[in-house]
């Protein structure tokens, strides 16, 4: 179960379907389903700080259709058609005038807050810099003897400058010195100007609010769960209700390997897509960050024929990476006792014999 420090997410939570992908954008939900439902998913988002690398990705998290379906079957999640919800919300005037106004106002406030924050920060920076300059020689934390010219002629030059700043009297040496001297000497002049330029406008003139481009649709839209289960049998298609049709009680379509996925998941395995090893799933005995996977899994129909060569190749590959090659499928219900015991998934594990 979830750790005490794991975030709590209110169920059912929305899974966003976009271009036949099932996505999660909320890091809390992502953590939550991993901790509570053993569903890792795959992070597919690029990282803004390191856009070139593709080893460690960020949100959104893509769920396999199997994962999305499992969560929906458990009743802890529902699928929202993202494009449709967006269209309904923003283009079809799904939001009332009132709501739009409120949203625009909140955006403007956000922009204003951002603008004043930026201003404040700049002001702070300036003030600290000025204070440091005013407080003495170590204005940039350099040792003093580095700033104070060691040799006599230069110190004299500095004194001269301090005394009255005689224009263009300086020789070659003094020109070198001005590199260091200028900030100290120029201190009295800029200070009042900067003050006069900065201080008065801040209170008097209202800030131009920054333009905020909203990156999320929720809010302002609110995702509401579909009317639950009551119409499950007829809800293969979107219900065409007035306000809620983007979210639906429909279960995501999962591939034919879903029974195997579900069986392994029920047995406590964490499942990742298996393309890296040329199989359907990789099954981990615990969290995928802590364990190596145990099995390379392939799903077959009960009567689906396969080549022995595939089995040999798979078995050998799996053994060479210290795993087992697992093949499983839904057992065909026997003709005699139909309906008595529901069909179960049966799996076989293959390892190299070592001889």
């Amino acid at each position: 179960m979830a750790n005490s420090d794991a975030p709590t997410v209110s169920e059912p939570f929305p899974i966003f379907e976009l271009a036949n992908r099932y996505l999660l954008y909320d890091v809390n939900t992502i953590t939550y389903i991993r901790a509570k439902y053993n569903i890792p998913g795959v992070l597919i988002g690029g990282l803004p700080q390191a856009p070139q690398q593709n080893v460690f990705s960020g949100i959104p998290l893509e769920l396999m259709p199997e994962e999305a379906r499992l969560l929906c079957e458990k009743g802890v999640a529902y699928v929202v058609d993202d494009a449709r919800a967006h269209k309904q919300g923003f283009l079809d005037r799904g939001l009332s005038v009132e709501e739009r106004k409120r949203f625009a106002e909140s955006l403007r406030k956000q922009g204003q807050a951002a603008a004043s924050k930026v201003k404040e920060k700049a002001e702070d920076k300036k003030q600290t810099a000025l204070r440091q300059i005013a407080s003495g020689g170590d204005w940039n934390d350099l040792p003093e003897d580095m700033l104070k010219p060691p040799s006599r002629p230069t110190s004299r030059a500095a004194n001269k400058k301090k005394a009255g700043r005689p224009p263009l009297e300086t020789g070659g040496l003094d020109e070198d010195e001005s590199l260091f001297a200028s900030p100290m000497n120029s201190f009295p002049k800029p200070a009042p100007t900067s003050g006069s330029r900065v201080n008065p406008p801040a209170p008097s003139r209202g800030l131009e609010p920054h333009t905020v481009t909203p990156t999320t649709s929720y809010p302002p839209l609110t995702a509401a769960p579909p009317p639950l289960q009551s119409s499950l049998s007829t809800s293969r298609h979107y219900s065409l209700g007035v306000d809620n049709s983007a979210a639906s009680a429909r279960l995501p379509e999962a591939p034919s390997s879903y029974p195997l996925y579900k069986d392994l998941h029920e047995k406590g395995y964490f499942i990742l897509p298996g393309i890296r090893f040329g199989c359907k799933y990789m099954a981990y005995p615990g969290d995928t960050l802590r364990f190596h996977s145990h099995f390379l899994c392939n799903s077959k129909e009960w009567d689906e024929e396969f080549d022995m060569l595939d089995l040999v190749a798979g078995g050998r590959l799996a053994t060479s990476v210290k795993k087992g090659w697992l093949m499983g499928g839904m057992e065909r219900p026997s003709k005699g006792g139909a309906g008595l015991n529901k069909p179960k998934v049966r799996s076989f594990t293959i390892e190299w014999g070592g001889m």
């Binding site: 799996s347 014999g353 001889m355």
Partner: protein, 171 residues
């Protein structure tokens, strides 16, 4: 043989062929891999009818399969005894299922074979004489058999097939 059931493994290969196949695998086991006490079984356990195809049982020269948990137990035992070399393990009788490379198999056929087999090949009189005891590791784990696959050039490859989900060995 039930010729009306197309899903049976025997439907793909004739009985005479499977019998010859079993014999060929048995020869490979006996002469290439030093197995002993080989038997070819035509009947399933306790009168469950005939097997889909003949299955071989035999005794390998050394233990063929050690479950990872048993291995941990053995290593601990070894550490307690303070010995540096691994403990000797008595070989166990194994089932061997003969097959050909160009055959097609299904999960259903594997299940059929497993369902017709005992967990452990029947103990021979020789085993009893040597006081052979089957370890609980064998009886508690799902059934297993050795899948022998032969190519037309008579190369045989052997794979351990478990009737269920069994975690891999730490090679």
């Amino acid at each position: 043989m039930d010729d009306n059931a197309p899903s049976r493994a025997t439907a793909t290969v004739g009985t005479q062929v499977t019998a010859n196949l079993a014999l060929q695998i048995a020869h490979n086991l006996r002469f290439a891999h030093d197995w002993t006490e080989l038997r070819i079984h035509y009947e399933g356990f306790s009168g469950s009818g005939s097997l889909p195809r003949p299955v071989i049982s035999g005794l390998p020269p050394k233990r063929l399969y050690v479950h990872p948990d048993e291995q941990i137990e053995l290593l601990e035992k070894q550490r307690k005894q303070g010995s540096t070399k691994p403990l000797e393990l008595a070989p166990e009788r194994e089932w061997v299922l003969p097959s050909q490379l160009h055959e097609q198999w299904t999960l259903g056929r594997f299940a059929e074979v497993f369902d017709a087999l005992d967990a452990i090949p029947s103990v021979t009189s020789d085993d009893r004489a040597t006081g052979h005891v089957t370890s609980h590791w064998r009886t508690e784990q799902p059934k297993r058999l050795l899948l022998a696959t032969i190519d037309t050039d008579s190369t045989v490859v052997y794979y351990v097939l478990h009737n269920g989900i069994v975690k891999p060995r730490q090679n």
